[in-house]
Symmetry: C2
Subunit: 229 residues, 2 copies
């Protein structure tokens, strides 16, 4: 097992939290040793993007559906470029991407297929705290009050998914879910039901597997999460 | 030895000669059998770009220097994308790209380095007719009169390279070369001296290895060629 650790500057826009993004290299290594990683690949920024670097992978399809891409315009070009580099540097048989960043997972699957990168992408289930909050590097920034509110995001997602599975109209469920999140104290970026593979809009559950995706801010911390219907 | 044969639609702009581009698959196979190719990889367009295809590699650096890119704006994104697909499909140890398409060669070298594609790119020397004309699929379109004029392109390139090597000022040499080509009946797109690696502008031969590159039209046929100084 090879593990890549790389905080990728090309995914961060001006004004985003690149400088303050939590870096915990030594703690990560300790955890990875326990998990019996064989190798950790943690390249320097100059190794990944030497002077004169001049190539960019620009994904469309699931990277251009008005979810994260609407809030972070160059994010997925940064993701696609660095992921393809990491995959081609390490040439693993299998690479695991977490479902927490569900749009990213779909973008990586699409790109690996389109560009014939010789690897099998495996989805890693989201790991959650006991109260349901999806684990994330950014959770450490939540003050106690916001930390207590944060699990509502997952609760609203799961209850919305249950209602849609039970046959309630998607529009109604999403409307109520958005209200519930705003009431709980979130500033909502989006709560959407999408086709689970293409991330295209979906009006009824009969149009394909449905995924619910949300992004919302608590103070200065932006949380994302998603669940299957 | 694997040989790829693929006329790539994404390199052709509207109005370019995709439909009439010379295709000689059976003749190519006969030549390749004689050259002892082990395998020919000739994918269908639907194999390369299935419905929903949504990834593009956008090169800058040597792909954005005002040579071919100025006349064919999306050409090198098409080249970079299809070349990386072909390389990752076949995973060869070595891949040969002809120096005839010199800017393309530099774009491929840059991309393979940037994206860590595990292959060694080797430059193939330009193969020429007895009179110096660089061999090209498009030469068959030259009517006899234009075919007789065509070798002037190479003659002007080599004499310009000799003068620059002998210390003449690059500006003067290029000015005279351009005039000579127009006099010979060409409509000139460009005749330029560039840094042989970056393809950046170069004012004197002391700034690095120099490459002379030209593109010019004889009637409806566009010819390109280049030589080292």
């Amino acid at each position: 097992m090879i593990v890549s650790i790389f905080v990728n500057p090309t995914q961060f826009a001006v004004g985003e939290d690149l400088a303050s993004y939590p870096r915990s290299f030594d703690a990560d290594l300790a955890v990875l040793a326990e998990a019996r990683a064989d190798l950790v690949w943690a390249p320097a920024v100059e190794t990944m993007y030497p002077e004169g670097f001049a190539s960019r992978i620009v994904p469309s399809g699931p990277a251009a559906v008005g979810l994260e891409d609407a809030f972070r315009p160059h994010f997925f070009a940064g993701v696609a470029t660095v992921v393809s580099k990491l995959l081609l540097q390490c040439l693993p048989d299998i690479a695991v991407f977490g479902e927490k960043d569900y749009q990213q997972l779909r973008v990586v699957l699409q790109m690996v297929g389109d560009l014939d990168i010789p690897v099998r992408i495996v989805a890693g289930q989201t790991v959650r705290e006991a109260d349901g909050l999806a684990m994330s590097s950014r959770n450490v920034y939540l003050p106690p009050g916001e930390r207590a509110l944060a699990p509502s995001l997952y609760r609203v997602l799961t209850s919305s998914a249950e209602k849609i599975a039970a046959g309630w109209p998607i529009r109604t469920v999403l409307g109520e879910g958005r209200e519930a999140l705003e009431r709980a104290g979130f500033s909502l970026d989006y709560l959407e039901a999408r086709h689970a593979d293409t991330l295209g809009p979906i009006a009824t559950g009969s149009e394909g597997p449905v995924r619910l995706l949300a992004a919302a801010r608590l103070g200065t911390v932006r949380l994302i999460d998603n669940v299957a219907v």
